[in-house]
């Protein structure tokens, strides 16, 4: 990950995400594994609302995130279902993050135009753009009159990972246990 004060020249990877097209986000280049097309994510009921689902990348399970949901600008689909505007044609940024000493792989869809850039030393810091939660930001800097928001992946995948509870649930009826109507399927 890049140093917090960017005291020397640093290589970053910049990108934008659907739902937040006017904000340029960035990661340290070593955190980025690949830009790739992934199979459509499998939604996970009861997962946090910023989880789009699970997908596969190079044979491994990756957690697909919805960064735009963190801004509160986009209404989440209920129960962790894929958002209706999810675009399966977009490529995903695949990144690695350490969670509780374990290496995990995460990904999120990115808009076209993502790429690496070299940031000179001692670039000026700037304010975090409205709508971006401060806890997921490592640093906001100004590069060529453009604000660049460096993400803190550990906080992104750890600190705000509160799961939804199980809301009000009602039985819609009853079935009888132990009647001849029932049969157990055979494997």
């Amino acid at each position: 990950m890049p140093p917090d004060n960017l005291s020397r020249s640093t290589q970053l990877f910049q990108f934008r995400v659907p739902g937040l097209p006017d904000i340029t986000l960035a990661l340290g280049l070593p955190e980025v594994l690949e830009i790739a097309r992934l199979p459509e994510p499998t939604p996970v009921p009861f997962a946090s609302s910023f989880i789009l689902g699970l997908s596969k990348w190079r044979g491994n399970i990756v957690t697909v995130l919805d960064l735009s949901s963190l801004s509160g600008r986009v209404t989440d689909a209920p129960g962790g279902a894929l958002r209706p505007d999810y675009d399966p044609g977009l490529r995903h940024l695949v990144a690695q993050v350490i969670v509780d000493t374990r290496r995990e792989t995460v990904a999120w869809p990115v808009l076209p135009g993502a790429g690496s850039l070299t940031v000179p030393p001692r670039v000026p810091q700037t304010h975090i753009p409205p709508g971006v939660p401060a806890e997921i930001v490592r640093l906001a800097i100004s590069v060529s009159n453009q604000t660049l928001v460096l993400l803190n992946l550990e906080h992104l995948t750890g600190g705000i990972g509160n799961a939804l509870g199980c809301g009000e649930v009602m039985a819609i009826g009853h079935v009888q246990q132990g009647t001849d109507k029932q049969k157990k399927p055979q494997p």
Binding site: T42, P43, V44, P45, F46, A47, S48, F50, I51, L54, S55, K56, I61, V62, T63, P78, G79, A81, V99, D100, R102, E104, T105, V106, T157, G158, G161, N162, A163, L164, G165, C166, G167, E168, V169, M170, A171, I172, G173, H174, V175, Q176, Q177, G178, T179, K181, Q182, K183, K184, P185, Q186, P187
Partner: protein
């Protein structure tokens, strides 16, 4: 939630809920009952009628997982029995029971976002990733939300 599938070979019942497949371990499946056309499940069975057959509350998984419900006729109620209780979950469709070897299974990622999800892993099917339902965790979760939805384990046998 357990993050690692607890057996090398998993015998499971693939169920479809609102277009998505889930795997219910066969060891937890007590019975399956089709909801017939014209049947109002609310009136199928009087609860606690003293007969040998016990009424098991039915919970619509579509509503539980996605907050949407489907018409009832033609759907199936899968009775899941665990050591912490029994309930019945309504699903949209069934596929033939199947078996997954260890190499076809994965653990869920170790992210806090999944810590309270009632799933204990994934089955890699050719065209999809299928979440393995942790029936014990699901029953516990339902019991915490609405205790009346769960038959105590002593009554379910």
């Amino acid at each position: 939630m357990t993050n690692t599938p607890d057996s090398q070979t998993l015998h499971y019942l693939p169920v479809e809920v609102s277009g998505q497949l889930f795997a219910i371990p066969m060891q937890d499946v007590s019975a399956v009952q089709r909801i017939d056309a014209g049947t109002d499940p609310e009136g199928v069975t009087p609860q606690g009628n003293g007969s040998s057959a016990l009424a098991v509350p039915v919970i619509d998984l579509s509503h539980l997982f996605w907050d949407r419900a489907s018409p009832l006729p033609g759907r199936h109620a899968v009775v899941i029995a665990t050591d912490v209780g029994t309930c019945a979950v309504l699903v949209n469709g069934l596929r033939p029971a199947s078996t997954a070897q260890a190499m076809d299974q994965s653990a869920l990622p170790h992210l806090p976002a999944f810590r309270h999800c009632p799933f204990r892993g994934l089955v890699h099917e050719p065209d999809a990733l299928v979440l393995i339902v942790d029936c014990r965790a699901l029953v516990e979760k339902l019991r915490r939300a609405s205790p009346e939805l769960i038959l105590e384990s002593g009554h379910a046998t």
